[in-house]
Every structure is written in structure tokens, then in C-alpha cells.
Symmetry: C2
Subunit: 135 residues, 2 copies
DNA sequence: CCGCATCCGATAGGATACTG
DNA sequence: CAGTATCCTATCGGATGCGG
């Protein structure tokens, strides 16, 4: 039997910056959407197309610079389509690609897990912290 | 109809450092296992119980300090159980809790998505980079 | 309106040396 | 063996101001 669990071992067709099979598959996703804002942007765009400022205001808390960077990364990965309307003033629409929608749906599974188990996590933390404080 | 997608809107029973409904549920998970090593540790522990150095050597690339911190966090969240054997030399076993195993299984869904779509992601990036280089 | 450039602080995480 | 302590760097992301 294999000594490694599935997503640990991987084909690593293309070398990553962190070599030696570092949980390649999941990491590939997490390295993209594991940051603070990507998933949130994905979520809003899953509803409907948004303009830049529109999205920026909804996510309020992110700086414009980071909003831009985030969207660019998502665009680069083919998760989001960016459409520039050459009007005055300029108008840029962001919408999910089918790939992005697919990822969004997949992430909901994690979201759902979190939802179902957040009480357990909180309880575990409380127990742990108590035992540490007692010690 | 609701203007927000499910995991964007949340009860936020407990305030987070980043207020205003920041994709709470997914973030709750990602804030724990979204780092560089947690998922990898989870993966190895899903195979079987490991001793500290055993795990540390497998994940090779992580420093001992960070390995410790990572495992402590997982323990605090109730995902990993830490057992100290009062022997000489000391021996500490780490194993997944049922909750940890559950999370691991859930994360595999993401892993699987990444597996199925990594080609598309790579293609999208290639296209994007080419169009940027051409411009 | 959109987004880039610059600056700057916070933090994750690596290297190394030391301890029970 | 299983950590802890200290130091240090790299990266992320916020603030602000300019430019098309």
C-alpha cells in the first residue's frame, strides 16, 4: 500500500517553488485563493457581474491596491473575466468564468464543513486554552 | 432573493478581527489550515500516527519551530491529538482526531478539483502572460 | 472611474543555538 | 527526542497620492 495519502503525493509536472511534493494539488488552489480576499471576491462575483468600485465597496476593508491585485490574479488563473468598456469615464466589469464558478461551488463544501463544525472547533479551543491557563 | 451568496453572509456569532461578514465560514477554516504546512501535516497524519521528528522529516522544508507551532494550532482546534509518553528519551505521538479526519476528507474535495482543473489553470496563466508580454 | 506607484507596518516563517 | 528562544528576512496587505 502507498505510504502517502493522495494529495500529498503528486505528479508535480511543473516544479513549484517549494519542491518535494508539498501537498501539491490542494496547495495549488490555496496558493491562489487562500489569501484574505480572493474567496470573498469569488463569492460576490458568483452572484452577478460587478464593476470595480462596486465590488470594492462591498468588500470594504480591502484597499484598492489589493483589490486590484486580487482580481488580477483571479483573472490570470482564468477564474474571473475582466471586461474593459472604453467609455468615459471608464467602466470595467468583472464576472466569473465557468471555471471560477466551478471553483466557487467546490469551495462551498469547505464552507459547509466549517458551518457544521464551528461549534466543535470553538469547544476544542476553549478546552485547550483552559488547560493551558490551568497549567 | 438574497443579494449575497451563502458563505459571504454569516451570523458572525463571535467577532473576528476583520469585521463586516468577510466570508466567515470558509475563512474560519482557511485561517487555520490555509497556511503552508497544516494541510500537509493533516495529510500525513491521516495515514497514521506520527512522532514529532518523524513527521518533521517527512515534511522536510519546514523548520522545527514552525512544525511545532503548526501542530499546536491543530491540537488547539481539536484536529490533532498530542500524546506525551513520559519515557526517556521523550516520545510524543500525533494523531488525527475524528474531527481532523473529517476535515481532511473534506479538503480532498478541493484537492480533487485542483487535480481535475490544473491544466485549465495553467493554460489560463499561459494565455494571460502571453497577452501581457505581447502588450 | 479605474488602477498604478510608493511607502510602511505587521506577521509568517526560516536558521540557529540551547534545554529537559 | 522534542521542543524553546532569539534573530532575521520576505511577503502581505493597508494608506495615500498621482495618472489615464
Amino acid at each position: 500500500m502507498d505510504e502517502r495519502v493522495s494529495f500529498v503525493d503528486c505528479a508535480d509536472g511543473e516544479a513549484r517553488q517549494w519542491d518535494h511534493r508539498a501537498g501539491c494539488e490542494v496547495r495549488a488552489v490555496l496558493d491562489r485563493v487562500g489569501d484574505r480576499w480572493s474567496l470573498l471576491a469569488l463569492a460576490y462575483l458568483a452572484e452577478r457581474t460587478h464593476r470595480f468600485n462596486e465590488l470594492w465597496r462591498k468588500i470594504d476593508g480591502v484597499s484598492r491596491r489589493v483589490m486590484t491585485v486580487t482580481l488580477r490574479q483571479l483573472e490570470r488563473d482564468g477564474l474571473v473575466r475582466r471586461t474593459v468598456h472604453p467609455t468615459v469615464p471608464p467602466r470595467v466589469d468583472y464576472e466569473l468564468t465557468p471555471l471560477g464558478a466551478s471553483l466557487h461551488r467546490t469551495v462551498q463544501v469547505l464552507s459547509s464543513w466549517s458551518d457544521r463544525h464551528e461549534a466543535e472547533l470553538a469547544a476544542a479551543r476553549a478546552t485547550y486554552d483552559a488547560s493551558v491557563g490551568a497549567a
